[in-house]
Point group: C2
Chain length 452, copies 2
């Protein structure tokens, strides 16, 4: 019987356990924290996630997509809230394409249940990885309750232990020629729960992602099943104004929301009271290489942790499982070959999803309120409607396809720049009729299709 | 009595101990390795270093420059060796400006002696820093011979423990919002000792740095006092040809030197026999920020390790001492203020010295054999001769001044690009007489002086 150790029972670790069980491995998962399903603890730093195409593909491939769909709320577009309380709407795609709001805790619990149900996966909790021998496939875990050290040897080790992976820190980072970076962006975030009305009804439209774009910062809200919304304020830590370090009193928090997000404030005038319920957290991009050494493989955030602005962290980690599984089917038990192809194939996509995420922060906090960008979006959406098999805007490539992230990034930027140039050259503007936009598309944008 | 702990008795740690002793601190230095002065061990990865202006300034400020000058060999320029064995020469500066070859081991031993001689510095060896409390100023050391753990608390802690600093790894890197990167370049290096002749005389000209520039790779040689040269081959690890991983047998090594460095091969036909005497080593750039937290300060390679191609690693670390000392004189015991100003002032220079180092690898391995670059250099040198107070080529700003590295990088590149453009516009070439070059300088390069 082939054996595998998985370090970390988060989203990617739990899903990968299901895959390995399916392939006949005996899988032991070691998790640093207590069992999410029993303890009253949060599942991690962010409460809500958006599942999109790549996530569903990885779940459906092993027949568990429908079980997860039951706990997912479709969001068909973005709803923008301006400082006067006006709202506007932009669909994400065509034909009811959507991204799906899920609770991190719920999906994680479900994935652990599914993994254990296979009969081939056991999960040990409170086990902190304190060292690893990457070449021999040995991990050492320290139990946080008993202090006992357990040595575990297996045929393969998968580190799915997140952005600050213990396997990577304790072993990989000490390898000669292991490149590594952890870069924090200037902004942090704080979550705020917007509760449902007394009768359980939601205070806003549910099937949409709400954004209060404010240029240098933003507030967003994702729907929950109980009618509440998980809201997140992203903003610089430091600065002259509009930064976390200036919101030092309840009065300042209250005043900030009142003037900056008036419609939100009206729904939640006690926002300052709830302000301290969630911590102020930082945001980092972690890059490293190689992603495998000896018998040990990095997957998910342990390989390519990103900032959350494209909603692709989990989806990219799940796609690691898809790719690794396809390589298993291709190379059988030749794990050296699997490792080499895995890292060569995935590293550029890990880098690209990070670049895409940074780029999409600008889109969300600023561009979605910029008339020029809205015009570009309108034209791109119309192109996708007219030529659904030929034209894919960058957002669609990332969220509604499994086109490689690196391709989505490169091609998406070229497409946008080409269309922007054509808009300028042809004097297209907000007054241009829908009919004339169609003419413009047919006449001038042929060359953009040829990129697809 | 104010106390300070220094982690690492390398070049920067030993020098900084002398400074702190001078300022009245009681200094305890903890070094992971055995005492260099007693054990037969190498002082680190590279055997030779080049001391230049910033290094001498830091040594002279506390009156120990002359003691070090006794063990330093001036190198007034570069001597290039082409594949036909022809040599050419480029002075580094004007008026006998030189960089000085010193043995890393010798200068380190001297600095430790000087530090201990102060009566205020003690150095403990075989003490590996296993943890640190940055805010409380506590370090824990494990003795590699006895296994005993020692807890040391002091008013200030200085981590001068090199590129892979234990203080940084064990404590700083775990701080929220600590940015960190270790990036290895594609190339590695291997040292080769070219011995003196049987009568002790050197096999090549001594007061120069020898380079065999070969485009993508290079061999260099620095003189030693005993007539030998420390030679270093810098080359990619992997590749189609001319890479370390292809030199798998003594025959291949011998053939490689014979065809690629024929004059070197003639001096050392047994090079393949000596090939394995020194390890193949990697080269990394380490960046991080912040450089201080609580009572703990990063200095030297622990803050800004660089690749060696500008010979500035030690000089930049010594300049950290100069800067920190000047801030002590400015702010007295206000170490919070010293730390803040130190990192704000020095971080951009740490980044710049790394960029300069990467850039100078191109110069050394390639440009020094490029006729266009040689023409540029000739004109720059002539400008410096004519206007020694007004014009400073980039190399001179870095090696013969304490102009900030960031300024040297920015201004140096602008100067070079401006002069290159003027050369093209005015059809200056190798046939241009010295007299006409002087005319060209007076007529067209006035604007370059105004940048100085």
């Amino acid at each position: 019987m082939k054996t595998a150790t998985i370090v970390g029972s988060g989203l990617v670790g739990s899903l990968w356990a299901v895959y390995l069980a399916k392939e006949g491995y005996e899988v032991k998962v070691y998790e640093k924290r207590p069992d999410l399903r029993k303890a009253k603890i949060s599942a991690g730093k962010s409460i809500n996630l958006a599942t999109s195409y790549r996530g569903w593909k990885a779940l459906d491939a092993i027949g568990i997509g429908d079980e997860i769909r039951k706990i997912a709320i479709p969001m068909y577009g973005r709803t923008m809230h301006d400082t006067d309380g006006n709202i506007s709407y932009q669909p994400y795609g065509i034909n009811k394409q959507a991204i799906y709001s899920v609770s991190r805790g719920e999906i994680n619990c479900k994935l652990m249940d599914i993994a254990e149900r296979s009969g081939k996966v056991s999960i040990a909790f409170n086990e902190d990885c304190v060292n690893a021998d990457l070449e021999k496939g040995i991990c050492w875990f320290k139990n946080s309750e008993t202090g006992k050290i357990t040595e575990v040897t297996s045929d393969l080790v998968f580190a799915t232990d997140g952005a600050f992976s213990a396997v990577r820190y304790n072993a990989m980072q000490k390898l000669d020629r292991f490149s590594y970076s952890q870069n924090y962006i200037e902004d942090g975030y704080r979550e705020i729960l917007l509760p449902a009305n007394a009768d359980g009804s939601p205070k806003m439209e549910v099937n949409t992602l709400h954004i209060w774009p404010r240029g240098r910062f933003m507030l967003i809200a994702l729907p929950n099943f109980d009618g509440s919304f998980t809201c997140t304020l992203f903003m610089p830590f430091d600065g002259d104004k509009n930064c976390f370090n200036n919101l030092t009193t309840k009065e300042k928090v209250s005043e900030f929301f009142k003037t900056t997000f008036p419609d939100f404030y009206n729904m939640m005038p006690n926002v300052a009271e709830e302000w301290g319920n969630h911590p102020l957290s930082s945001l980092a991009i972690v890059r490293c290489y190689p992603w495998y050494h000896g018998k040990t493989y990095l997957m998910g955030d342990a390989a390519h942790a990103t900032v959350p602005f494209f909603g692709q962290g989990m989806n990219c980690g799940f796609e690691d499982c898809t790719v690794m599984w396809e390589l298993m089917k291709k190379h059988g038990d030749n794990w050296k070959k699997i490792g080499e192809e895995y890292q060569i194939a995935r590293k550029p996509n890990g880098d690209a999803v990070q670049d895409l995420s940074l780029q999409n922060y600008l889109v969300m906090r600023n561009k979605v309120a910029d008339p020029e960008y809205l015009l570009l979006q309108k034209i791109e959406r119309r192109m996708a409607e007219l030529y659904p098999d030929k034209y894919f805007p960058m957002y669609s490539m990332v969220s509604f396809s499994n086109i490689e992230y690196k391709t989505a990034l490169e091609k998406g930027n070229i497409q946008e720049n080409t269309i922007k140039a054509m808009i300028d050259e042809n004097n297209i503007n907000h007054a241009t009729s829908d009919q004339d936009i169609d003419v413009f598309i047919h006449k001038h944008l042929e060359k953009v299709f040829s990129m697809a």
